[in-house]
Amino acid sequence: MNNVFVYCEIEDGHVAEVSLELLTKGRSLANELKCDLEAIAIGNQLEGVAKQVIPYGVDTLYLADDKRLYPYQTLPHNSIVVNLFKEEQPQIALMGASSIGRDLGPRVSSALHSGLTADCTSLEIGDHFDKKADKNYKNLLYQIRPAFGGNIIATIINPDCRPQMATVREGVMKKEILDPKYKGKVVNLDVSKYVSDSDFVAEIIERHMEKSKLNIKGSPIIVSGGYGVGSKENFKLLYDLAEVLGGEVGASRAAIDAGYVEHERQIGQTGLTVRPKLYIACGISGQIQHRAGMEQSAQIIAINTDPEAPINSIADYVITGDIADIIPKMIKYYKKNTK
């Protein structure tokens, strides 16, 4: 009761990266609150799940194992989570801001009348004093996220409703095994008590999941473009530089909305979070939502025609100029000095 809960997404018997990252975050929140970390995995043939998650510091793992529960479907997963939460009354529940978590989270929060904050970039524990009600709240979950086009950072709290729910995108939190020999218990749920046949009304006819061909997250060098690149054609310069340096091409949301590149390359709060050795930002002004996805890069080069672009303040190298002029020079001098 009153613990921190993480919903673990399963794909082909493997726990999703984002869920493992949330377990690490959940463990540290639980330590601060002096409570347990609990996890739930729902799917089919989940024998291998305990081995994957308990080392992250999970005290209790609930498994709902039934062949009808994989792949993910909204209603049965919702029923299990809602009913389990009614029994266990978690104070905090975390889910990935993935196509599963963003489908399930709102449904669960509506059923439990609890608050949910999407796409948090930071989670902390803190107090709150409500002046109007003259009431002090201890140990609330601060759900921190950029809002409103990235012009503000909002701290959201749920003072009265439980669980306090948040979704977080993959790559935002760091995953770290706590102890390979951590002792946690496994509870196998009697699935029939949690779902009813009427939950299985949708039928998945076909499913093609592919490992993304792009590996932007894993790339040590990212050449990223924004609206300032100006056109799809101009993006070719970025591809050239990425190829020469052995990196990948990313983009800001503005460049994607403008149709310059495909949305799988989006970096930022609502896209990928990356931590490369080198991030080269071309024609990116640097709104907070973009920075949320890249500011932990080891080195940043910003190329902009605007000397006042906000991204410059977090860059190691600020180049004021036109990418059509600068990028070819970078390629030229890279080649010259590596031969």
Binding site: D103, P106, A147, E206
Partner: protein, 291 residues
């Protein structure tokens, strides 16, 4: 052939994609007045899906349901110009400050009043919050199935629909029964443009509040052309539990808002001249960042 009753959930949003330098006031609050208000982009994708069903199944009706201040009637008019049959504006101070849950409750109570509905279509998310929560929460409030991230309606036959979903790492095809709530992705086809005939037909479609502001005689107008009346619903038009509305009905509260202030880093400023670019590349090669 069956005709369907479709409701499109839409939101008028500030255009956060083109936020200029004057978007924030000196006190750190958002200066909404300078931001253009637009039809939320993915709600237009949703409208297009509804209109395609209407094209295919004559007799189908498409209505827009939106919640917002008086000016949000603009997006209902925009919908009429593109082929919708009508719309309802939910507007009341009692709804102010709603988070996604209170919004979903209000929309849900309104939908319950709208008679038998076959299909509710909404955009995946709105650009001012990016939460993607209202669609699934409305579905839960109605006790209906939801299908999120829809890119295409592959087939609709009687009460069975086959939908293609675009997920993070793949595509899924789902078959299910109506009624349901579906949310549509921005990767779905763009909405058709305004139709000139519809523009002429509906340019005077207004809410009573708008007509009163313009001192127009709406009684006789609406008697002749009831289709020009955009109904406004207030808290009194829906059954409700006041504790679930607006700020009071919102479990999430904004504790604090911070203006984004950048911490300046020690950065090297480089002009575009060859020697400086070359030095930078040499430094990066030496530090094994590249190469």
């Amino acid at each position: 052939m069956k005709a369907y009753k479709i409701i499109v959930l839409a939101k008028q949003v500030p255009d956060t994609r083109n936020v200029g330098k004057d978007a924030m006031k000196a006190d750190g609050t958002v200066n909404r007045a300078v931001l253009p208000a637009i039809f939320n982009p993915e709600d237009l994708n949703a409208l297009e899906q509804a209109l395609r069903i209407k094209d295919q199944f004559p007799g189908t009706t498409v209505k827009i349901l939106t919640m917002g201040p008086g000016r949000a009637a603009e997006i209902i008019r925009e919908g009429l110009f593109r082929g919708a049959d009508g719309g309802i504006l939910l507007t009341d101070r009692a709804f102010a400050g709603s988070d996604t849950l209170a919004t979903s409750y209000t929309l849900g109570q309104s939908l319950k009043k709208m008679g038998k509905i076959d299909l509710i279509i909404a955009g995946r998310q709105a650009i001012d919050g990016d939460t993607a929560q209202v669609g699934p929460q409305v579905a839960e409030k109605l006790g209906w199935l939801q299908v999120t991230y829809v890119e295409e309606v592959i087939e609709l036959k009687n009460d069975t629909v086959v939908l293609k979903r675009r997920l993070d790492r793949g595509v899924e095809t789902v078959k299910c029964k109506l009624p349901l709530v579906m949310t549509v992705n921005g990767t779905a086809p763009e909405c058709r443009v305004r139709n000139a005939k519809l523009l002429m037909k509906y340019k005077r479609a207004k809410t009573v509040t708008e007509l009163q502001k313009e001192n127009e005689d709406y009684t006789s107008l609406y008697n002749d052309r009831p289709d020009l009346n955009i109904p406004e619903w207030t808290v009194n038009d829906i059954e409700n539990d006041a504790t679930q509305l607006g700020l009071n009905g919102s479990p999430t509260k904004v504790k604090s808002i911070e203006n984004v202030v950048l911490q300046a880093k020690d950065s090297k400023v480089i002009s575009g001249v060859d020697a400086e670019i070359e030095n930078m590349m040499i430094e990066l090669i030496k530090s094994h960042t590249i190469g």
